[in-house]
């Protein structure tokens, strides 16, 4: 198939005058894990709900599995698994009843796969959902998303929605599924949470796509804020490779460094350094500096 596994073209959703997401064009390859990053209100949930057919695009569209998806299409969703950010499951059903109901809706379910998931995540299925602990509820949420072995797995902020312990198992299961050919698309606030598993990340802010990068590339451009205190006269370090900002306040030097730290470290080694702090910059800083758009609103 020549076309991408999933592709959005100029996908736009406005809520009245509020922008949800604007002019989003993305393309996912089969088998990759794609992180969709952005701060609060960036449009992550809006995008995901557009892709699932919950929201009607204001303009633009998307394709999945090599087919254009029109409003009202639903058969392709048999191949999608979804974990919402605000997971709500029918409280009066037991886990068994819930999976039974969803199984009937799916038609063909490989129950030994479901049993494997249940065993793997250690979820008690005999209890009513309202009595489940938060962690168990989240695991059940994960099982309902994966029970039909979806080819495309869409997760809305799983790292916020899942407790750390569940997260670890969830990441393992997702990796396993990816190795079996599944494609994963998930949103997150924090790059440090997704870089362990993502192949590529997109960054959105204010409804706009800022950029799409390979995680490996991004790492080599990671930014750090460095503060150095030296005794005596402080030298000018602005010309050292990787230093993109340099400020001198008495004996203290404030620097912004991009990429490999080695050249700066080599230079500092020769100085009478009293104290040094090395701090990873915020995700937004990475992206905006990377795209040299830091000054834009």
């Amino acid at each position: 198939m020549a076309s991408a596994f999933m592709q959005t073209s100029a996908l736009t959703k406005r809520y009245g005058t509020t922008v949800g997401i604007e002019d989003l064009s993305l393309s996912l390859q089969a088998g990759e894990v794609f992180g969709f990053l952005g701060p609060n209100g960036a449009g992550k949930t809006t995008t995901i709900r557009l892709l699932l057919g919950f929201l009607r695009p204001t303009s633009g569209g998307f394709s999945m599995f090599g087919q254009d998806i029109a409003w009202g299409d639903w058969r392709h969703r048999a191949r999608i698994g979804f974990l919402p950010g605000d997971l709500r499951l029918p409280r009066r059903l037991t886990g068994h009843q819930l999976l039974g109901l969803l199984g009937r809706l799916h038609g063909q379910i490989n129950w030994s796969w479901v049993a494997h998931l249940v065993e793997r995540l250690e979820v008690p299925l005999g209890h009513r959902i309202r009595t489940l602990s938060r962690g168990n509820l989240q695991k059940l949420g994960l099982i309902q998303a994966l029970m039909h072995r979806p080819e495309l797995i869409i997760l809305d902020e799983p790292t916020t929605a899942l407790d750390p312990l569940v997260q670890r198992t969830a990441l393992e299961v997702l990796r396993e599924l990816r190795d079996q050919g599944a494609t994963v698309f998930f949103s997150s606030h924090h790059i440090d949470e997704v870089e362990k598993i993502c192949d590529r990340v997109a960054f959105v802010r204010g409804g706009r796509l800022v950029g799409v990068e390979e995680i490996a590339d991004l790492r080599s451009h990671l930014l750090a804020r460095v503060e150095v205190r030296v005794t005596g006269e402080a030298p000018d370090l602005s010309s050292v490779e990787g230093v993109i900002r340099f400020e001198q306040r008495g004996e203290t030097l404030a620097l912004m460094v991009r990429g490999r730290p080695a050249p700066l470290l080599a230079r500092l080694a020769a100085l009478p350094v009293e104290e040094i702090t090395w701090q990873a910059a915020r995700l937004e800083d990475h992206f905006f500096t990377y795209y040299e758009r830091a000054g834009e609103p």
Binding site: F54, W74, A78, R88, L89, P90, L105
Partner: protein
């Protein structure tokens, strides 16, 4: 798929449907069974004559209060039964569609290969199943009473069955309007509040207003005013223009609801 979704909706709503049906049957039963212990038909006739407004409310201008059938028919329009018959479509409207959006059930179902149409069909099937159950129970109440303590003048049970069908049509058309409200909403509380408010207006216009000649024209603008099960019992004929209006409003409401539901945003 629609069958699975209907079963799911009925599973959620049977704790409401069961008592509603039982109460309908109970009221219908009592209106026949109490004739004997109250000292015969005379007492009813006297009460209806002495309080003409209440008499009219209970249908004294449609029925013959000197017959058991006339008294038994009161159960089919009694305000208490009218409330029961509104409670069901309200419950369906609050649980399905907009209620599903609020509870997260819509997210759970629509994120998989479930067309919105199937969810809508399940809501309609549930509405109709409940309407039939309640009206069957209403009729069974009358029939059971006639069987256990047969009145001196036997009642035409066939006509009562037709009257029950007219009531089922009223429930369905009320449901059509309320499902339209639900299809566009995302909040159970708002569906219940707005729905109950609309129904009260409808009850006022259709049942209370006609007691006052200057307001009687309001009847034409309500569903309740077009539901005339007692006319069926009195004449043996379904009053077509009125029942037709109920059917038309019901079908129009459901069609509009289907359209709204198929086009709306399901926000989180």
């Amino acid at each position: 798929m629609t069958r699975t979704l209907t079963a799911r909706l009925l599973q959620r709503l049977w704790p409401i449907l069961l008592p509603l049906s039982a109460l309908c049957g109970g009221v219908a039963f009592l209106f026949v069974a109490l004739i004997e212990p109250m000292g015969g038909l005379g007492i009813f006739e006297t009460v209806l004559r002495m309080t003409p407004r209440i008499g009219q409310l209970l249908g004294s201008n449609e029925i013959d209060p000197t017959t058991s059938a006339g008294i038994a028919s009161i159960a089919y329009v009694h305000p208490f039964v009218a409330i029961l018959m509104a409670a069901w479509p309200l419950s369906v409207a609050a649980a399905a569609l907009g209620g599903d959006v609020e509870s997260g059930e819509a997210d759970l179902l629509l994120s998989r290969a479930v067309p919105r149409r199937a969810m809508f069909q399940a809501a309609v099937a549930t509405l109709l199943a409940g309407a039939l159950a309640m009206c069957a129970s209403l009729w069974l109440g009358t029939a059971l009473a006639q069987w256990i303590s047969p009145p001196e003048d036997p009642m035409p049970l066939g006509r009562f069955a037709a009257a029950a069908v007219v009531n089922a049509v009223l429930i369905a058309s009320t449901g059509g309007v309320l499902l339209l409200l639900s299809a566009g909403s995302s909040e159970r509380g708002r569906i219940l509040a707005t729905g109950a408010g609309l129904w009260l207006l409808n009850f006022f216009a259709g049942v209370v207003a006609p007691l006052f000649p200057s307001l009687a024209f309001l009847r034409l603008y309500s569903l309740q005013g077009h539901a005339r099960p007692q006319a069926v019992i009195a004449s043996g004929q379904i009053p077509w223009p009125d029942t037709g209006i109920l059917l038309t409003v019901g079908v129009a409401g459901l069609s509009a609801a289907a359209l709204v539901w198929s086009r709306r945003d399901v926000r989180s």
